[in-house]
């Protein structure tokens, strides 16, 4: 079976994000595969180990996203498509989905996996939009995925409001990964060394027959006016005194000031 995994390059979650002139400073940031996408990659690899087939990574990102793609190949994916064109840049979730959907139209797949959201902008909508554009079924935030014996349908477990929900879908479908789906592996040294020989194909807007006016910054419906760091949290309040008086004071504050009880 062919599994396509949508991966996004995001700043390392350990990075201290700097903001200058209303924009995120990208110099010196180290980049990773978005953690939810890593679950998707891992799940794809496990499926292929079980059922045989091929894992293809699909990534929209600037030229140097290649390094992040290589990491995915080092983990064990077979090949990758890099949607690499300045025309794609400056877009939003909707234009990203348009480009990804156009790319998927050119590909053969039995299943598309993605992270439930990318940890940079946390839009949590790209995969859903892609599914809509391609008229594919879609299951979001999955923590367990099983395929039927004939590989024609998927059984997905999700956590919903503290309970569990089981969704069944025909395939092909777009399924997104939630934390808990699996524990991603480290790339093996052999995988890392072998990754440089695996093919990464570049596709541009023209390869996808896309009108540059509808994608990237020109197609985006969302305009980022400015980015500000979250305001510093006010310091916590220490309530002095012995336990009995402190507890009384705490209740009073929760009631009168915070108005939560």
């Amino acid at each position: 079976m062919n599994v396509v995994v949508l991966i996004k390059r995001v700043p390392d979650t350990e990075t201290r994000i700097q903001i200058k002139d209303g924009k995120v400073v990208t110099d010196g940031i180290s980049w990773i595969i978005s953690p939810y996408d890593e679950y998707a990659v891992e799940e794809a690899l496990r499926l292929i180990e079980k059922y045989t087939g091929k894992v293809t990574l699909l990534c929209l990102g600037p030229v140097d996203a290649k390094e992040t793609i290589r990491k995915g190949l080092a983990l064990g994916a077979d090949d990758a498509i890099h949607l690499n064109d300045p025309a794609f840049e400056g877009g939003d979730a909707s234009t990203t989905a348009v480009v990804l959907a156009a790319a998927l139209k050119k590909m053969q797949y039995d299943l598309v996996l993605a992270g439930k959201q990318a940890v940079d902008e946390d839009n949590a909508q790209v995969a859903i939009r892609v599914a809509e554009l391609l008229d594919l079924p879609h299951v979001n935030s999955v923590i367990k995925l099983d395929l039927s014996d004939d590989k024609k349908s998927a059984r997905c477990l999700r956590e919903v409001d503290g309970d569990r929900d089981i969704a069944e879908s025909s395939l092909p479908a777009i399924i997104t990964a939630q934390q808990g789906l699996n524990e991603p592996r480290y790339p093996s040294l052999k995988g890392i060394m072998g990754a440089k020989k695996k093919p990464i194909t570049d596709w541009k807007a023209s390869d996808l027959g896309l009108d540059p006016g509808t994608i990237g910054a020109s197609g985006a419906k969302l305009e980022v006016v400015r980015v500000d760091p979250p305001p510093a949290r006010p310091p916590g309040k220490l309530i002095p005194g012995d336990a009995a008086t402190a507890a009384k004071e705490l209740v009073r504050l929760l009631h009168e000031e915070a108005k939560v009880v």
Binding site: P187, L189, K196
Partner: protein
């Protein structure tokens, strides 16, 4: 001239760093307490392909270059010197002879499982009476028919209590004039009659990487266990490995220095004195700046050494410099970290005291700083 690092090397660095953060760091205090490395670490590191880094794929290795090896050791040492030391033994000194000179049967019986972490190999050169002056060892190997009989005592042997096979330095030519050149290297397997492992040596640093004495009492090994197949060959083979040992020990020093620097920065930004963060005092800033200078220069020296090894160029001087400078940088940074931490620098629940103790380990094997200076001086003709 190109100082860039390939994406493969970067990905590997992160992989090792992640392994250290997730699987090693949480268990450091347990290992310090038990003074041993849980056996499962060997299997895990074998599984991740770490031990086979430098060996070809046919033995289960990855055929990576020295730069990759240096990155591995640096990241390991940044996390925990004891484990880094045991791993380096398994990747290099403990398995190198069997790879280079072992028979095919020995390789498949010992090397292949060692790279998977299922068997452990170590090297036994040092003796109670001879360390730097290896030519002064007294362990003897005497040919008797199709065998060699080995007699002698070794000390400071890493992982000896659990090793499955030993690469042993013994004199085939006892003439004192032959010195270093009278040494040959032998394969001795665990369980060979006459081989006994003595008690563990209690030590101040690298405590979880065990070291013990080893005695050979008429230990008989088949003649094919003489590495290289003929007498008088061993010392040159040993010499060939020395530069790699030195550069890679430098990589351990670099990792230790980074750990000390990172600890220092975090602490200096929190600890208050005289109404300021101690990191606001220039005296503290300069200590950290000095660490950074030595880290960057160590990195250059180690990478240059690794590159020369890969280019198969002579590098006696460069390897000696890399080991000397980077291990001293590690020791220096750890010392400064214990000062920046004030009394907490000595507190057993904090990290700097361990870095301070562990740093000492780097100063001896592969040549002491004094011996390395001798080599550097000799290399430049003085």
């Amino acid at each position: 001239m190109d100082f860039s690092i390939s994406p493969q090397h970067e990905i590997f660095r992160r992989t090792v760093a992640e392994f250290v953060e997730k699987e090693v760091t949480p268990r450091v205090s347990e290992m310090e307490e038990r003074r041993e490395i849980p056996r499962e670490f060997y299997a895990r590191m074998g599984e991740l392909g770490f031990f086979g880094l430098r060996y070809p794929e046919e033995y289960g290795g990855a055929g990576a270059d020295s730069m990759m090896f240096a990155i591995f050791l640096e990241e390991m040492a940044r996390g925990y010197i004891s484990l880094a030391a045991a791993a380096m033994m398994q990747c290099l000194m403990g398995t190198n002879f069997i790879y280079r000179f072992g028979t095919e049967a020995q390789r498949s019986r010992l090397l292949v499982p060692a790279l998977r972490g299922e068997k452990i190999g170590t090297i036994a050169m040092t003796e109670p009476g001879a360390g730097s002056d290896l030519g002064a060892i007294t362990t003897r190997a005497v040919r008797e028919g199709d065998s060699y009989i080995i007699d002698g005592t070794k000390s400071w042997i890493t992982s000896a209590t659990r090793a499955d096979f030993f690469t042993v330095a013994a004199k085939t030519n006892p003439d004192p004039k032959a010195g270093f050149k009278g040494i040959d290297m032998f394969l001795v397997e665990k369980g060979t009659p006459g081989l006994s492992v003595g008690k563990k040596i209690a030590k101040a640093g690298a405590v979880a990487s065990e070291t013990s004495e080893l005695t050979f009492n008429e230990v008989r090994v088949p003649a094919e266990n003489l590495f290289g197949g003929k007498e008088g060959f061993g010392f040159a083979a040993l010499r060939e490995m020395l530069n790699e040992i030195r550069v890679m020990t430098g990589a351990l020093g670099l990792g230790l220095a980074r750990a000390a620097r990172d600890e220092s920065i975090t602490y200096a930004q929190q600890r208050m004195a005289f109404g300021k963060k101690i990191g606001d005092f220039q005296a503290i800033q300069h200590k950290v700046a000095d660490m950074e200078i030595e880290i960057e220069l160590s990195r250059l020296a180690v990478q240059y050494g690794a590159w020369l090894i890969d280019q198969k160029q002579p590098c006696n001087k460069e390897a000696a410099i890399a080991k000397l400078f980077a291990t001293e940088a590690g020791v220096h940074a750890a010392d400064e970290a214990t000062r920046i931490f004030g009394a907490y620098g000595m507190a057993m629940e904090m990290t700097p005291q361990r870095l301070f103790r562990d740093g000492r380990f780097l100063l001896y094997g592969g040549g002491t700083s004094e011996i390395l200076r001798n080599i550097i001086a000799k290399e430049i003709g003085i």
